[in-house]
């Protein structure tokens, strides 16, 4: 099959096109800094010493709770959008099924974000 520019543009739009691509990059950069903070805090400074009190104390700080929420949101988005890109390369050629996949991923993502947020709630509200 020979693609003309209009075909490529249409296919791109169905896959999300420029905005999802850009959002994947933006969330990647957030993850780089967020994960660095997250990993250094949990794996370097408190490896072997993690406890509820330890974490509760860290989450008291506005900086860490902000990083955690940003990290949660961008990780969930980046993960599901990345998985979607992989899936669309091999499956879901049919547009109706792709729409279904998109909705399923969206609902799953919102649920995962809400669940994580729920666990952080005591520190968000203090």
């Amino acid at each position: 099959m020979r693609f003309v520019p209009a075909d490529i543009e249409r296919l791109d739009r169905q896959k999300g096109g420029m905005w999802l691509w850009l959002a994947q990059r933006v969330s990647a950069v957030i993850l780089l800094f967020g994960l660095l903070t997250h990993l250094i805090a949990t794996h370097i400074f408190s490896i072997g010493e993690l406890s509820y009190d330890n974490i509760a104390e860290r989450l008291q700080s506005g900086f860490f709770i902000t990083v955690d929420i940003l990290l949660l949101a961008s990780a969930v988005f980046h993960a599901l959008n990345g998985a979607r890109m992989v899936l669309l390369d091999y499956f879901f050629k049919d547009l109706a099924r792709r729409r279904l996949l998109d909705w399923a991923l969206f609902v799953f993502g919102v649920a995962a974000f809400a669940y994580g947020l729920w666990a952080l709630w005591p520190w968000i509200t203090t």
Partner: protein, 113 residues
């Protein structure tokens, strides 16, 4: 091509890990301080510490290869010399992994309290 295949595989592993991580940690935080502390004691298991090391390796590979992709996509850096850039970011990944290995080794091979 191998960089791309590994990028996908590490990405998919991280997706799976992320949701397990969210559920387990949230579950722990939502139940009680004791439950969460018991969870952390369970994670002290050498095999889980080793898995943690593998996870850090996957994160470093995916993250730094991602840096390379962004540099090439967005800024057009080194498109002609992408192999050199690949090895440069891999050197950074190896360095960071070595640092983590030093920190994690006592938890894998014993010796940490």
């Amino acid at each position: 091509m191998w960089a791309w295949i590994l990028f996908r595989i590490s990405g998919l592993i991280l997706v799976a890990y992320l949701f397990v991580h969210i559920v387990i940690i949230s579950q722990g935080e939502l139940s009680s301080a004791d439950t969460l502390d018991r969870l952390f004691e369970m994670f002290e298991n050498p095999f889980l510490a080793f898995l943690d090391f593998m996870l850090v390796a996957a994160v470093l590979y995916h993250g730094l290869n991602g840096v390379r992709v962004i540099l090439m996509d967005l800024f057009g850096v080194s498109v002609r010399r992408h192999k050199a850039l690949f090895w440069a970011v891999m050197a950074v990944a190896a360095g960071l992994l070595a640092w983590f290995a030093v920190v994690a080794a006592p938890h894998i091979f014993g010796g940490a309290g």
